[in-house]
Amino acid sequence: MTNEQLNSGNPKVDIEYRRKKNAEEMRYQIITFALMIFLTLVAFVAVGYEGFSASFAVPFILVLAFVQVAFQLYYFMHMSHKGHEAPALFLYSGVFVGFITVLAFMTVIWW
């Protein structure tokens, strides 16, 4: 099985490099996390703040949720990495089916 790693031929150098890469990635993860917390705060504030009407707040917090989920998927779950083409295809297909289900249940259930 191939090791998908740049090999310098020197394990020591190799390890240093990988550790550094991993640490760098971890830094991105923490930034992602900070952004997610920030988005969550904004969503809660938007709902708590009296000045916003529901017609603004609802779409706004939904957008925030989608952005936050994208962070979760692409960074925490590594969908931004290579080798996630099939997972992405099937996840988005699931999102598509889920979306039309929700749409139908909000439009043609009650009349």
Binding site: M1, N3, E4, Q5, P11, K12, D14, I15, R18, R19, N22, E25, M26, Q29, I30, F33, M36, I37, T40, A43, F44, V47, G48, A54, A57, V58, I61, L62, L64, A65, Q68, V69, Q72, L73, F76, M77, G83, H84, A86, P87, F90, L91, S93, G94, V95, V97, G98, F99, T101, V102, A104, F105, M106, I109, W110
Partner: protein, 209 residues
């Protein structure tokens, strides 16, 4: 055999979660399962949205009467943080640091337990303070089913993490169990993804009215 091989810092691969064919299959299969779970939870969300605030009489509590911001906020923060701690665990897995990986998973489990505890408290609160139960209205059925399904996923995820920690506690990382940890952490993130929509669609939109 490759999966049982002992590793050192030098020989540990960069992507231990998909080195063997078995691991690659597990990785892909689990993602597909999550695709199916997406539809599963979408169906529950659809049911909830269709039945939100549908109660038999005007005395029963509606979403805007029930939900309180501080509790939901606390639960959200805890679950989001547990997502980060499981990322830390995977970081240490890639660095072949088994002890730290176990530690971060233990922290994840603890946060998950707190979350579950708060959820139980919350349900108990609705049942006893508001008479909002699983059987009291269609709204109640839909609410407890959606949030309860998520809670059951959390509980299952906790059992999964604990089983992994105990089973592998003495033998350390290898290419047989690394994918198992990785997939469990994917599951945990997915639980968090669902919660993002629950706190937005159920709680925040419920409070807006």
């Amino acid at each position: 055999m490759q999966a049982e091989e002992k590793f050192t810092n030098e020989t540990w691969p960069a992507s231990p979660e998909k080195q063997t064919l078995e691991a690659k299959n597990k990785f892909l299969g689990f993602w597909f399962f999550l695709g199916g779970e997406t539809v599963l939870f979408a169906s529950l969300f659809a049911t909830y949205l269709a039945l939100k605030d549908k109660v038999p009489n005007s005395e029963m509590s509606l979403a805007k009467d029930l939900f309180e911001m501080p509790l939901v906020f606390a639960m959200t923060m805890i679950l989001l943080t547990s997502s980060l701690t499981s990322v830390y665990a995977m970081y240490h897995m890639k660095n072949f640091n088994f002890g730290k990986m176990q530690l971060w998973i233990a922290i994840t489990v603890l946060l998950g337990l707190v979350f579950l505890g708060l959820e139980i408290y919350e349900f108990n609160h609705y049942v006893h303070e508001f008479g909002h139960t699983f059987t009291s209205s269609a709204f109640g059925s839909a609410f407890y089913t959606l949030v309860g399904f998520h809670g059951a996923h959390v509980a299952f995820g906790l059992m999964w993490f604990i089983a992994l920690m105990i089973r592998n506690g003495k033998r350390g990382l290898n290419l047989y169990n690394a994918p198992k940890y990785y997939v469990a952490s994917l599951y945990w993130h997915f639980i968090d993804v669902v919660w993002v929509f629950i706190f937005t669609v159920v709680y925040l939109m419920g409070m807006v009215g």
